[in-house]
Point group: D2
Chain length 142, copies 4
Amino acid sequence: MALRVDRSPFHRLLGLELVRAEDGAVELRLPWRDELGRADDSDWYHGGVLSALIDIAGDYAVASRLGRAVPTIDLRVDYLRPARRGELRATARAVKVGRTVGVADVELRDAQGALVAIGRGAYGTAGRGDPEDARGPRSPGP
Amino acid sequence: MALRVDRSPFHRLLGLELVRAEDGAVELRLPWRDELGRADDSDWYHGGVLSALIDIAGDYAVASRLGRAVPTIDLRVDYLRPARRGELRATARAVKVGRTVGVADVELRDAQGALVAIGRGAYGTAGRGDPEDARGPRSPGP
Amino acid sequence: MALRVDRSPFHRLLGLELVRAEDGAVELRLPWRDELGRADDSDWYHGGVLSALIDIAGDYAVASRLGRAVPTIDLRVDYLRPARRGELRATARAVKVGRTVGVADVELRDAQGALVAIGRGAYGTAGRGDPEDARGPRSPGP
Amino acid sequence: MALRVDRSPFHRLLGLELVRAEDGAVELRLPWRDELGRADDSDWYHGGVLSALIDIAGDYAVASRLGRAVPTIDLRVDYLRPARRGELRATARAVKVGRTVGVADVELRDAQGALVAIGRGAYGTAGRGDPEDARGPRSPGP
């Protein structure tokens, strides 16, 4: 399966790039743009960019094992230090891919390789195609 | 204090509007734009938009009690159902504003008033001005 | 359905009592015992007692709508202030009971009525009877 | 510092044993007892036992770096599969020990070495000795 990130308008708005996604392991890349800043003339990313990146990376980690898009059930993000301007890298791995729930762990690093945030998400794997179950999906799919 | 949301480039990128923020209670408004969609030709918001909105609203709820910006320590978001195109409203209230930690609860509703996501965040209130502590801040401040 | 809390040895070890459980709303009661303390000669509950109480109350809130036991998928607990010796009351309500996931909110108050902790849990509602899905269950059922 | 786990009545009620705690890395051990079961005649641990174990291990990981007890700010637990009777091992490591907040990651494995639950906690490191800040502490200290 070739997961695509450029089919989502929001992914394009962020400028997200998929580095790799295979068998539960995902890497995403985000170049800095001034529009992603916390405040005018700030060198720091807005936290909302970090949480979005973490959710998307975790989602793709589970999706890459199933070969189809999955909805996010819930998301947890811990911000460890500010993320300075420069490229961000999110690496995610699926911890569990069960029949109804998948869990993924995500690490987010800045251009110097410092860990700026960590996250964990639960994703729905039942795949019933029910919009009611499609709570917070990300991945527009393969 | 008059909290401002338009000093953040990322807030402007989203198109976020502050309806009110006083004494621990905050309401934010987000009009739909195609760039916030999950996929091309989709009527649904991308989940990353929802989590950003929740984080920002919770942050402002604590900040509105302190009169200054606060960093996000950590965040949890539960996606209850898909958020269809139309205006989103986030309402947040500070549950606790302690000397080192504040906690806020957030509800996110779509244009029909349906609850689409709920969130809870912990925010740093020590205000030591240490960039190392400024983990995931949002609010560019008063 | 009459949910029972006394069929669980761990519930009996804690001394947990069910006050009511109907249609998504649950109240649990826990009397103080010295064995539940944080430290010898301490007047404070151990935090592990609070998180267990919150998980169980949220679980029963979802279970009371389904009429059967549900496994916990994940749990978040925010500790707001120390819980002093005396009776604890946990009140929970189901925020969502979907086809695969239920979400419950819980408040925990001390004998003076002060809010000491809040929590939110996601519970599996698919009910496939698969032990693999029975991740962190509590409720021994009706 | 020699962290002690046996000074807490609740730790003794569970039967918790400290294997090691040094420089941010902690291992705890819990032997099975029937009182820790989910239901009568059940071979499975009650989830409340798992969340308590995770909280305590994460707390000690941060405490082992500071040489003093720390309060829990918030706790997140993901239940991956049921934990069958037998010895449980919790391993924790401090991900960050900042001036006001520490973060720890915890893995919980059953006697067969299977990962049964993972958790992450935020702990208060400011150490102001204010009982109001002593929200959900565990470690009765060195």
